[in-house]
Amino acid sequence: MNKLSSYSIRDIHKAYRDKTLNPRCLIDQCLDRANKTKELNAFITLTPQVAHEQSLRCQERLQSSKKLNLLEGISVCLKDNFCTENIRTTCASNMLKNFTPTYNATIYSKLMMAGACLVGKTNLDEFAMGSGTVDSIYGPSRNPWCYNDNWRIAGGSSGGSAVAVSSGSSVVAIGSDTGGSTRNPAALCGIVGLKPTYGLVSRYGLIPLVNSMDVPGVFAKNVDDAAITLNCIAGPDDLDSTTIKSAFKPISIKEDFDISNLNIGIPKEYHCKDMSIEVIECWQFVTDLLEKLCKVSCVSLPHTSVSIAVYSILNQCEVASNMSRYDGLEYGLRAKTNYSTEELYATTRSQGFNNVVRSRIFGGNYFLLRQNYEKYFLKAQKLRRLISDDFENVFNGDNKVDLLLTPTTLSDAPLYSDFTAKNNRDQCALQDYCTQPANMAGIPAISIPVKLSKNKLPLSLQLMGPALSEELLLNVAKKIEALVNFPVLEFNQYLNKN
């Protein structure tokens, strides 16, 4: 049992072929784990019936066909901002608490087609606005590492998905990543978090935060599993006009991948003052390891420090716009008032959204006013271009590098009590510092766990590459994964506590 939760997708498939395991059994164990770890609050909705039906169909296919898709019989969970037909999709908000979509997000359709089994919908910050998975109407998700009464946050906003994978309730999970929402909780929970190139994976059915930056993300226990999942979900989609039109070439992870000709860049601006010494040491540790295998150079991304402010403006503008559909008329919460249409809107929206959402709507509408548009929105867009150009320059200019190596977060997982002492906005500014520029530029990035801090908590690093460099990115991540030999979370840690 304990061993199973460390199995990779290929291990599981070998067990399926050897008949030492079957999909139904795997799903049962995942659901069992989810039920035993309820306290971690990874899930908003468990979907045992769906998972069982899907796993039975997998079993039939296992018996009848020889060549199986690698996701066949693999448990998966979705962040609760991906629409799933006949399964409620709440965005962890009162506004959508009663919302059951009549359609499937493209990503879920693809996973189902590949034979994956949905165990549940996972917790998030309301409408994905946050970096801790603490602002959910269903309460915060808890980090399974060093779990005790003084527990740590899971990171966010896709914290539920990260917890589900790290605690063994699901083999892989899907999150969304707008400013780091996949990589940040992956880093804090000690698993792999992949943010693909913008447009590589369809957003159809993902309830948006910032349309121009949102990307579905992948959580997995290892780089191989992340690559397998990406191969399933990537590719053009007629239903999302922003997907990259050319056909997707599946990524292959090579055991003997040669990195000796690579040049890895270390951007000096990522050394920020709030970064913990342990994180810096961890970064140095991997840099030293890599220097023995390939070239490592110091590079500059001069606009990094403005990224957070720019992100804050663009985020709020799109939020103000995207949220204007929640008026209580067609779906979702409708306040009990009939004085006037305006009154109905106002009451519905004030009951439906938390303070974080409401303040972002407020800010965004201010930035978009006729007299402010040029001063804020347009300027922010210009700066976004400069940030994006920074990456363009280090990847293509003189002394170009192939990939960039940075920390993912500024520290290990904060205590819930410490984290909530600061407000949502300040926390986002802090937590997203290293992850958010990749969203500005639309480039792929991956967070990989490296070692444990003195608190016995995961410390992770991030690799970023040019647009559509996923193959290189994942192969190098795999190399680092092999070098650092990050420990698996001992589930007993959690059980012993209880």
């Binding site: 006009s241 503008c317 103000a320 204007s324 559909r325 978009l368 548009y373």
Partner: protein
């Protein structure tokens, strides 16, 4: 009658006021929304139709269900480009979409996707002729510049039940494709505005871009009106919405100009507001819910990449439309049709305008002129007799069921003087809504004209016998009484004699 009177009154009024102050000038600019004739909506696969079962042509996207995304309908771009080219616009190689935000129950997303910053096309022109029978003696040429043409979504429809204090929303129209055509304010009065709209309707119909049915809201006109004293700066403008017909455009604009003039002459101020045309009461009234100046908080639509078109070659791909290929599809436009009518058939300009203004009549005319016939007579038959009969029966000429074959026979009979125009109208009445042959009807009813001189001579003699006094008067030199005699002849023969032949014969007989 009423308009003639008003016209005279205005003329007098102008003359009077110019003695104390400089003349008033009015400036009118139009914004026209035309629904595109496509199977599906602008960004969704839902059916684009008028009069469907309530809330039955609504996709998830049209209802703004979270997570859905817009996918641009290629056909809409083609029709938009076709219209832009017909108005000599500069089609933009790259155009973009914007969100325009406002809260309204029939706007489910809380924003409309439009093209505010970089529209599909700019800088066009529409040339038209202004001629309203009874207002203008002769047609004159006018043109209005087009500032931009943009693609955008239509909204749904709200229905308010005052008694139940309920609002109901129908989203069938939500997301339907529109082009908005923004004209420069270069018109002078309501008649010019109406003539522009009429020409616009004709053009979009010819192009197959829009049904042009104003009564269904397929083409909607907003008019911006402001006035000034000659040489002075323009006063504040007002916008008139909800104009549902071509004549409505003329009346609404005229009303608004008069209203502004009287407000200013009485020392008042014009406020920048949106007014609604009340077609029944024939007045413009302020629209209450639009009084507050809106800030639409425009923002680029992040879910749609820029729209690119190929301006130079005929290479057409799934994602990039070839503009030259669309340019090949432009049919003959109304202005050319009018010029041809004048050139080839020697018609007077006002006749040409009236014919082209009614596409059904224009088609009839072209069909009837396949035989060698007197064009003016054919045109008159259509514009006077056919239209009169249809109007009497309250039938729209475009829904006229009379076939070309029927008209062909009828025209032959009229031009060959087998029947006169009175009979012609009676025949038209008989053939509406059926396939009967006019020959057969005339035959059956015994309506054909008597041209046989023998019979006419006999009838004349009978009239002479009955009216010896008049005959004597004529022969004494009072030749005027010929007309009285002819009148009696026409009456006694039940209107069935060819009177041109009859008058010759009668005159000859009297001179004997």
């Amino acid at each position: 009658m009423r308009s003639k009177f008003l016209y005279k009154y205005l003329k007098l009024h102008k003359r009077y006021s110019s003695q104390i102050a400089k003349k008033w000038q009015s400036v009118v600019g139009l914004e026209v929304h035309a629904q595109l004739n496509t199977e599906s909506k602008l960004f969704s696969g839902a059916q684009n139709t008028f009069g469907g079962l309530v809330n039955n042509c609504v996709s998830l996207f049209d209802a703004a269900i979270p997570g859905t995304l817009p996918v641009l309908n290629r056909k809409c771009v083609e029709l938009g480009v076709l219209a832009a080219l017909a108005f000599s616009c500069r089609v933009n190689e790259v155009s973009t979409f914007d969100r325009k935000h406002y809260f309204y129950a029939d706007l489910p997303a809380g924003y409309q996707i439009t093209q505010q910053r970089a529209p599909l096309a700019n800088d066009g022109v529409i040339n038209f002729q202004v001629y309203t029978p009874g207002v203008h003696k002769k047609p004159y040429n006018k043109s209005s510049m087009i500032k931009q043409i943009q693609l955008e979504q239509d909204s749904g429809k709200s229905l308010h039940d005052i008694e139940l204090k309920q609002s109901l929303v129908d989203l069938n129209r939500a997301g339907a494709p529109l082009i908005e055509i923004v004209f420069e304010p270069d018109l002078e009065d309501g008649e010019e505005a109406a003539a522009l709209v009429k020409e616009l309707v004709l053009i979009v119909q010819r192009l197959g871009v829009c049904s042009g049915r104003m009564e269904e809201g397929a083409l909607r006109v907003d008019a911006n009106v402001s006035i000034r004293r000659e040489g002075d700066p323009l006063s504040t403008r007002t916008e008139i919405k909800n104009i549902g017909s071509v004549r409505g455009v003329a009346s609404a604009v005229r009303y608004e100009i008069d209203r502004q003039q009287s407000v200013l002459e009485n020392g008042g101020n014009i406020i920048n507001e949106t007014r609604m045309w009340d077609a029944a009461a024939k007045v413009t009234v302020p629209m209450r819910d639009k009084e507050v100046v809106q800030d639409y908080r425009y923002m680029p639509e992040p879910n749609l990449p820029p729209l690119r078109v190929n301006l130079t070659t005929r290479e057409d791909t799934q994602d990039i439309i070839s503009v030259p290929l669309i340019s090949d599809r432009i049919p003959e436009l109304p202005a050319v049709s009018r010029a041809k009518l004048i050139e080839n058939h020697d018609l007077r300009p006002e006749i040409a305008i009236q014919l082209v203004n009614e596409p059904a009549l224009f088609d009839f005319f072209n069909n009837l002129m396949n035989k060698k016939r007197n064009p003016t007579k054919v045109a008159n038959l259509l514009l006077n007799d056919l239209l009169t009969v249809l109007n009497r029966r309250k039938i729209d000429v475009n829904n006229c069921t009379i076939s070309v074959e029927q008209l062909d026979e009828l025209t032959d009979m009229v031009l060959q003087k087998k029947i006169n125009l009175d009979i012609c109208r009676s025949v038209l009445e008989e053939i509406i809504g059926n396939r009967k042959s006019p020959f057969a009807i005339v035959d059956e009813k015994g309506w054909s004209l008597v041209t046989d001189s023998k019979e006419i001579t006999e009838q004349c003699k009978r009239v002479f016998d009955d009216n010896p006094k008049l005959v004597k008067q004529y022969r004494d030199g009072k030749v005027k009484v010929l007309r009285a005699l002819l009148g009696i002849l026409s009456k006694t023969s039940d209107n069935k004699l060819d009177m041109s032949v009859a008058s010759k014969i009668m005159e000859e007989l009297l001179r004997k």
